[in-house]
Amino acid sequence: MIQFKDVGVTYAGEGALGAVEALRGVTLTIERGELFSLIGPSGCGKSTLLNLAAGLRGPTTGVVTVGGQPMPRPRPDTIAVVFQDYSLFPWRTVVGNIEAGLEFRGVPRAERRDRAMRYLRMVGLEAFAGAVPRQLSGGMKQRVAIARSLSLETPVLLMDEPFGALDEQTRMVLGEEVSQIFAQTQKTILLVTHSLAEAVFLSDRIAVMSGRPGRIREVIQVDAPHPRTPEFMTSKLFHDLRDHIFRLLHDEMRASVLGLHRGARAEDRG
């Protein structure tokens, strides 16, 4: 469904920084109906990969296709995007925010309210239909954003660290909820995250990325049926996978956080 073929992205240099190579030689295929996670240290280009799939930017080298077609611009009939900062329109009510997406898509007015309410019910927020975003907690805002993306009824959903700004408890509860919803909807989902637990809990497969320039280190399969329950989080499989990814990421994260990356990678190559 989503294909990256030998994709590289280099950002043109600004000022003293010079050109930055964000991605190099990324080849990935995300199957139809799969929940695929990208995880890696900050600055590894995982959000860039998602923007490529969203049609918000093009690759410097290589090819990106969704459903077999290249992505020179967003395809709202095929792809919905959930952003980390919720991106709700603060002047609209909760239900008005969901209707906004349907307005942009050209859904007739008469249909919008019913459809918006249906998806609002799905995320358990129908009681807040008339509230404005300012009155909601972070977790509630993200549920509205998710309901808005689902209401567009696209086969593909892209999520850029959707739970990144939430606290640990909220993201756990939201994760379970989302797992239930996704099991029903059969969408192809690309999820960018930096939470190991979230990636293992939600995904069918996980790509672990290395630091700048971002490359795929390993793709890990999570063999557990959906929807997943909290028990899965205490299973041996969950812990083994989590530990495995942790070991893969640990050095990368240290290097990225301490700013050793360029040097470290130069040694690798040399």
Partner: protein, 256 residues
């Protein structure tokens, strides 16, 4: 709590008026310059004469013409400069330079060009009123959250859809703030121009009453103008609060 503050305020104002009344009656103040408040209230009846009412209508017309111009040009040009990076780079420095010129020095020029009638007043008031509108509209348009624009774009919004449903509503509170500040500047401009050179209008009567030592009429006119300005400003502020309710933090007006 708030009740007792209101009470304190009323007492303070009444005390002030009482001191003023006493000072004027006891001739501590020169009666050529100060009238007691009771006489000021009486003088309000003098204002209800055909020439003064006609002057008030003219002033209102001048304010309306100048404000309509300031609003149209300020919003139109402001949106253009705010939306298009090329226009922003080209015109914003020019706008800021013109903004910093003391408009007062241009008043004699406007009178030379347009005479002492309505046109020179409206043009001068426009030159004061347009800047708050322009600067607030530019700032409001540029402050629009980029991720909201990206989100709308991903949901299939057209350029026009993004403008109408993302940029305009996001900028609306700043637009209204600009209009409110622009309105006060416009009123100021009209009155200044009338004080400077006119043969009618409220500003002309302010000047006439002060030059002919009629303090009661002067103060009466002053209080009426003040009351009207406060009503207009408060009404605009109420609209501004409504439009900006969704904003989480207060944003200071530019060019106030």
């Amino acid at each position: 709590m708030s009740r007792s503050i209101a009470w304190d305020r009323a007492v303070l104002i009444l005390a002030g008026l009482a001191v003023w009344e006493a000072a004027a009656r006891l001739r501590w103040l020169d009666p050529d310059f100060f009238s007691p408040p009771t006489k000021v209230v009486g003088a309000m009846a003098d204002l209800a004469t055909p020439p003064v009412l006609a002057a008030a209508r003219l002033t209102a017309t001048e304010v309306a013409v100048a404000f309509a111009l300031a609003a149209a040009v300020g919003v139109g040009l402001g949106l253009m400069i705010g939306l298009f990076p090329f226009a922003y780079r080209t015109f914003r420095p020019i706008v800021l330079l013109l903004f910093s010129v003391p408009k007062m020095v241009m008043l004699p020029l406007f009178i030379l060009f347009f005479g002492i009638g309505l046109t020179s007043k409206a043009v001068f008031a426009f030159s004061l009123g347009v800047f708050p509108v322009l600067l607030n509209v530019i700032a409001g348009t540029r402050m629009v959250d980029r991720t909201l624009v990206t989100a709308a774009y991903c949901m299939g919004a057209s350029q026009l859809g993004i403008f109408a449903k993302v940029v305009l509503p996001a900028a609306l509170p700043s637009v209204i703030t600009g209009l409110r500040v622009g309105m006060t500047q416009t009123v100021l401009g009209v009155l200044l121009a009338e004080l400077y050179a006119a043969n009618t209008g409220l500003g002309y009567y302010v000047s006439l009453y002060s030059q002919s030592f009629k303090p009661a009429q002067l103060f009466a006119l002053f209080f009426l103008v003040a009351a009207l300005s406060i009503v207009v400003n408060e009404a605009l502020r109420a609209i501004e609060r409504r439009a900006g309710r969704w904003r989480e933090e207060e944003v200071e007006a530019e060019g106030a």
